[in-house]
Symmetry: C2
Subunit: 799 residues, 2 copies
Amino acid sequence: MTEQGTTADYPDDELDLDLRWWAAANYLTVGQIYLRDNALLRRPLAHADVKPRLLGHWGTSPGLSALYAQLNRLIRRTGTPCLYVAGPGHGGPALVAATYLEGTYSEVYPQVSRDEEGVHRLFRQFSTPGGVPSHVSVQTPGSIHEGGELGYALVHAAGAAFDSPDLMVACVVGDGEAETGPLSGSWKIPAFLDARRDGAVLPVLHLNGYKINSPPVWGRSSDEEISGYLTSQGWAPVFVSGDDPRAVFRELEAAVRTSHDRIREIQAAARGGAEDVRPGWPAIVLRTPKGWTGPAQVDGVQVEGTFRAHQVPLSGVQTDGAHLALLEEWLRSYSPETLFTADGALVPELAALAPAGGLRMGATPYANGGLRRTPLDLPALERYAVDVPAPGATFAQTTHPLGELLRDVYARTTTEDGGGTFRLFCPDETASNRLQSVFEVTDRCLQTEVLPTDDHLSPHGRVMEVLSEHLCQGWLEGYLLSGRHGVFATYEAFAMVSASMVIQHVKWLQHAATLPWRAPVSSLTILLTSTCWRNDHNGFSHQGPGLLDTVIPLSPQVVRVWLPPDANTLLSVAEHCLKSTDHVNLLIADKQPHLQYLTLEQAHAHAAAGASVWDWAGTEDDGEAEPDVVLAAAGDVPTMETLAAAELLREWAPAMRVRVVNVIDLMALLPHDDHPHGFPEQRFDELFTRDTDVVFAFHGYPRAVHQLLHGRPDPARFHVRGFEEQGTTTTPFDMVVLNRMSRYHLVIEALRRSRRAPERGAELVRFCRAQLDRHHGYVREHLEDMPEVRDWTWGAGRG
Amino acid sequence: MTEQGTTADYPDDELDLDLRWWAAANYLTVGQIYLRDNALLRRPLAHADVKPRLLGHWGTSPGLSALYAQLNRLIRRTGTPCLYVAGPGHGGPALVAATYLEGTYSEVYPQVSRDEEGVHRLFRQFSTPGGVPSHVSVQTPGSIHEGGELGYALVHAAGAAFDSPDLMVACVVGDGEAETGPLSGSWKIPAFLDARRDGAVLPVLHLNGYKINSPPVWGRSSDEEISGYLTSQGWAPVFVSGDDPRAVFRELEAAVRTSHDRIREIQAAARGGAEDVRPGWPAIVLRTPKGWTGPAQVDGVQVEGTFRAHQVPLSGVQTDGAHLALLEEWLRSYSPETLFTADGALVPELAALAPAGGLRMGATPYANGGLRRTPLDLPALERYAVDVPAPGATFAQTTHPLGELLRDVYARTTTEDGGGTFRLFCPDETASNRLQSVFEVTDRCLQTEVLPTDDHLSPHGRVMEVLSEHLCQGWLEGYLLSGRHGVFATYEAFAMVSASMVIQHVKWLQHAATLPWRAPVSSLTILLTSTCWRNDHNGFSHQGPGLLDTVIPLSPQVVRVWLPPDANTLLSVAEHCLKSTDHVNLLIADKQPHLQYLTLEQAHAHAAAGASVWDWAGTEDDGEAEPDVVLAAAGDVPTMETLAAAELLREWAPAMRVRVVNVIDLMALLPHDDHPHGFPEQRFDELFTRDTDVVFAFHGYPRAVHQLLHGRPDPARFHVRGFEEQGTTTTPFDMVVLNRMSRYHLVIEALRRSRRAPERGAELVRFCRAQLDRHHGYVREHLEDMPEVRDWTWGAGRG
């Protein structure tokens, strides 16, 4: 429990002003929820002044505004740049009110002016069709966090704080959100935050007793329990509680002030060279009533301090006179006539409480990261390129050169204070994913004493490894939205753990693009590796390409899916993704040794084209005739199997006209009207013709391709093979057999679909079936020394 | 720190036996990873004895086996039924070894016999194509948990403990898994576990210093910190640490024994009537070296106790003589010749350490829940049916009658001790989702003092509300896999939070069905409500039907998707789902007032059919002519818009032959070969003809339907409208307009696609466009009092 601040620290007149500012914020919050007219109560409230559709969440709002008032005071006093992350995103009207009061709202939305008409618009637009949503959203100035899907407040806050040495991120964690898995996991910030080069996160655990209906677990825990929980994870909690505004404001002021002082002390020590890896970062626990300052009782039932204050405490105001009277009493309790001038502007003494310019939390460039972003300093790719003497003749670990590129990106973007503008986030798999070259220039980050048995570990390392996809992705989102660059690399199957975060981030970017005042931020690039086809050693739980299916239906303005078949195409596509803004890029490439096909130059051309005919692999003559069949592939393993199939066809049926198409930009398959990358009809037809059957080997679930192809000419002629959810611990070749995508399956399908039946076709089918039988025989016998058919290279079979 | 047990508690000869049993388990673990021959080292080890493909995880295994040994001792002493949940699932070989030693493995897999040939098979099959996966998986007797995707050990453990008053679930939490969000969130078990009627969870936090590469956060935390963390959440931790097997076994024995005693004490007090809601449940923190008893150093580098022991500590054994010698030394350190008889059977004194029969953890019916399951006692549906005097004439909250049904299911399945066999799991939204009738017979569960402001809350309540989809779903999975019944009800959009858990559960059921010894368990039924179309008040973050797309590609043997259009169809389908086994059912129905169409009898017929022509809504004559166009719908809102469109067409173009088809079983659209519910071709053609254009209004993303339709005649004739990721806080009608699925859009599309152009078609298109223009006008003007077009009923327009 903090001691109450003294009047020397917080003179009464300043407290009075802050309380009046808070009254104004609360007034505007209630107004947004209830009023469509009579915004400043110039006349008695009538039923007709009330919105017909009452939406919004009052319960959490007063607490959010109280903290805003105190942070404003801190910023005025200290000039510390602060970012406000509102975990309880449904407290949207409180944040809209606060940014309106400080003037930033009207700067980005001039029609919501700082006068009575503006207040009127502010109220009318809230939770109204065509207006603003009820959540703290991308439309809210100063926000990097929506707070609709709960769980990510602290990870976003931490991401913004990394490499922002001056910044303090105040992050409100609602007692509901505190029950989620991701939020529970994200309290471990002190284990990853480097006081020397990172900014600070000041969590404010806001306990107000109830969620929608139930009491939350922390709301029914003692201060001692909460203190034990936070202390054990590296925090030094300060408790503030009460329902008397004056007393709570004094306590909260002291808590914010002393927390900030302590943060600066910790940072000064670290930046002076101290090595204290567990300094005990301040955290505030704020207990205030749900619906604080709202109606205490309605219809004889307690409302304030209960779950009934969660959304709209007075529900009958459109028709019930008593409810209407209560609403008017409630609104007038804030004395709006003393807060707003005759013109409806905030009175000058309250307007003066706003921090200066860009220090206003609604105007901070940390929340509009595009303003802070500089393009990533990328080296030329040539030095990382894999030597490809001939297509499909050599093996290389496809992700390894990318690791070398990222190593040099780290080197070029690291600043003198040990910070920088680029980070790699990965759940303890950087080396497993073959990106270990980054450790030549930086380390894994952990705030701990380093032991001799540790491997590239340091409190000042900047590769973020934590065994949580939620943390990795959330940190990166916060890092990007505050103006930096990064990559999230993960096992493909476990990318689904944070799939819902991907969806929410796409939604954010989709809406952000419609707001001219939001500057573009770096894209979220997710490298999916250790893919289903080559997670043969880990088995079925590690085999799942589902994130592809999750992103396909999302905004075409945002989503990109790349399936580079080899190392140089991965380099080319990665460069493109790292340069891009406002996208979510899925980059899918396995880490194991794979055949390499294209030189860097060819890779650039292939990636730019999105899909190409690989003439060298096909058997079309140069003439005008259409191919007999098209073999298409997207992804590394499908490409190899397709090429092996093409080679078998070339050997056995050289007169057959086989075209080989490789697809790297998956969204190119969508009709052009449905995605900006969708090929125009003519380009699509050039690749796939209008009527030739296509045998398509695909990295993911086969029907994902079918959904993309709707709208293309005769989509039924596409015969897709891919991952059919058949897997276990087995060999790579057995995986393609189990899922019917092996070269032999592709050959059989191609012969079945070919326009013309080649001479030795039946014989070739028998050969393929025999190969598959032989393989099944191996597996039945548990012969773990089964020969690996992957030891094949293009052209080797031609002898 | 627990005091070391005395020799009175744990006589030396018993300790010696347990240590020898442990040596046998470790020997079998190393053998599984390395050996393909010479299984019992009857001759010197040769390179040829070693597998060519070394897979598996040694690091965590000895700790898992040590705990198994101590739990066996506890079970022998006390007869307490125990379930072992191995969070570090990649410690699979340890659990396989333990269940082999106790005999259960050979009972379910007789070919892996208890002799030398059996040991040989045990080794050969591990991580081998066609053999057993490297993870603790569905194939492992005694497991309800795979542990590949980390995070769910404790939720599965808790789910099994609910309503299992005698059971103790020992749950090993790895230090890597402890970093995940879901696991971090799931330590709050003490807030939800009722000592009176539930069993106990005994977590064992296993710290061994490293994940794949990095040290874990808890591994670098002090005992004091860990104690603070656990204590604050209702646990009473006991610490065991060391690397001397004898000493650790003594400490661990004491920890397990005293924990069990304390659990029984807590339970006895609660069952005697005490109301202590925070008893402090025992938890063990076990610190042992990674790769304990493995090679200390390899090639001059420390291995034991470091990340290098994570998987295969000796990698060069196939060719490197020194490595091979180390492996032989390691294997022989366990003295296999003293553990196995000349026949290769475990020596009798060690075999005698196995608990009796069904108390062996590999044989416990709690881990093979189908053996314990009795069909759910469901009442007749008639009493819950909504009265439907005519189709589309009245509104009702579709989910409300389901709540009444679940209320009576609770009532019928509650046992005298306050437990039972059915639970509802929901993230604080039971009332919001209109299932509040359940509170007539039970309460929300929270271990807390109940306050006057609480709403249907009790420590003995059995509705599980926690604001975490991970916890809700994971608890239910554990509850089902241990033989009970339940439903997970959640906001549709946030079902994506636990989408990866759905995938993993489908994989589990898919493989379980191939194992004759696993008895069928109740299906996982997920009610998705508060759907995208009617989350208009919460906005874009709450609008996402993506779980549909996640499950479509998964095992057709397991996945079912139901889209009941109204309350009676929901009842019918829910009954079907609650009776079913081994499926994952998505049940999608909104909670708001919706039009009601079918009587219960009609609903049963419709649900059984999967899809039907709704003759009353169409304008086909009875003759032979094909319809001009088919209007199809799947989902409640799409059904309403489709019917309104049909009515407009009937009014304006009565001569047009319009067929209305309603689809309730989505998987029926898949070809019959691809899903057991897929309609045979003839049935599909009867509904949709072979060549008529179909305008399909769909609940989810439109291309989801297109992916299902591949393989049907002329799929390009299907024109699907659905959720196109357009949303915000707005009105229900604006949502269907934004996503181009409104009645007016459907009419325009139907007229465009109709085989014949009706007389007043152009006029009707103009009318529809005018209606849409008028709507857009409303929205542009922010008229929140915009009339709600949803206030329409079937036939009302006919006047």
